[in-house]
Symmetry: C2
Subunit: 141 residues, 2 copies
DNA sequence: CTATAAAAAGATAAAAAACTCTTTTAATCT
DNA sequence: AGATTAAAAGAGTTTTTTATCTTTTTATAG
C-alpha cells in the first residue's frame, strides 16, 4: 500500500513525536537505530519532511530533528502525501488514466469504500494523539 | 496499492471474461492492444495466471487465452494473490515484521477497516458479475 | 507427417525504488 | 574567529519492478 519510504517516514514521525521536542532534538542516527531502518536513507526522508514543514530541524551542535507543537497537532496525511504523493488517496485502483464517478472503472464505486477507510486511517487523529496512544499502550513502532 | 502487474492482470482477466470463452480464445496481442499494455509483459502475467488455473489457455493454431465457466465464477482475490502475493491483504500497513491484534502497530485497528474494504472489493462479486456490469454500463477497462 | 501458430520458458534490458557515500552549509560552543 | 557538530544537498550504487527479446514446446490444420 504505502511505499517503504512512506512507512519509514510515518514511523519516524511517531518516534519523534514521542522522543523529541524543541529542547530535545534527535540525530538521524538515533532515529534510524531505534527503528532499525537504513540511516542515510532515512536522512533523505527526514530532510524531505522538513522541507515540507511536517517536522522541524536545526543544524549544528545540539541540532537535529524534532516535532514542534504545531507539527504534532497535524495528522499523518501530510506525511504520506509528502512522500508518496497526494494521488495515493485518489488514483484509480486499476491504474486507468481517467476514472471518476462520471467515468468509473469497474471497481470504482467499491474502491471508494476502501479509499475512505484509508483516509480516515491517516486523517482522523493527530500525530500527537497517535503518539500518546503508543505510549499508553506501549505499542511497538 | 496493487502493483502495476496486478492492475494489468485484473484488467486482462476482465477483458477475457467479456471477449473470450472456450470457443473464442484470444492471443496475448489481442488483449495487450485492447488494454494498451506492453505485450510481452502481459504474456508473462497471463502465463502466471494460467499456471495458477485462474485463466485457461491452449497452445498452437487457434490457441490462446480464455476464461472457462469455472474461471469466471471465481472472484478477483485469487488473481490479486497470484500476482502480488497473499500478504497484500494481511501485511502490516507500517511494514512491521510482527503486527497482530495481540501485538498491534499504532495504526492496526484502523487499518483493519480499510483492509476489510479491500477484501470486499475483490471478494464479494465474481469475475463474471463484474464483467456483466462492465458490459451493461459500458465501462472502460 | 509437415508446416504453422501460439503459448511457455529463459535470458536480458531499462526504469524506478531503495539505499549509500561525499561534500557543502549552517548553527553552536569555546 | 575557529573548531565542531549535525543537517542539506548532490552524486553514486544496488535491488526490485517493469518491460523486451529469443528459443522451445505443443497443439492444430492441411
Amino acid at each position: 500500500m504505502f511505499s517503504k519510504s512512506c512507512k519509514y517516514a510515518i514511523r519516524a514521525v511517531l518516534y519523534l513525536a514521542i522522543h523529541s521536542d524543541a529542547e530535545h532534538k534527535l540525530g538521524v542516527k538515533d532515529v534510524a537505530e531505534a527503528l532499525d531502518v537504513p540511516g542515510p536513507f532515512l536522512a533523505k526522508l527526514l530532510q524531505q519532511l522538513s522541507r515540507h514543514h511536517l517536522i522541524s530541524s536545526t543544524k549544528g551542535p545540539n541540532g537535529g530533528f524534532y516535532l514542534s507543537e504545531t507539527n504534532a497537532r497535524a495528522n499523518l496525511r501530510g506525511v504520506v502525501e509528502s512522500i508518496d504523493g497526494p494521488e495515493v488517496f485518489s488514483s484509480c485502483i486499476l491504474g486507468l488514466p481517467v476514472c471518476s464517478s462520471q467515468n468509473p472503472c469497474p471497481l470504482h464505486s467499491r474502491a471508494q469504500l476502501y479509499r475512505q477507510g484509508l483516509l480516515e486511517l491517516v486523517e482522523d487523529q493527530t500525530i500527537k494523539e497517535v503518539a500518546e496512544r503508543v505510549e499508553r499502550q506501549e505499542l511497538k513502532i
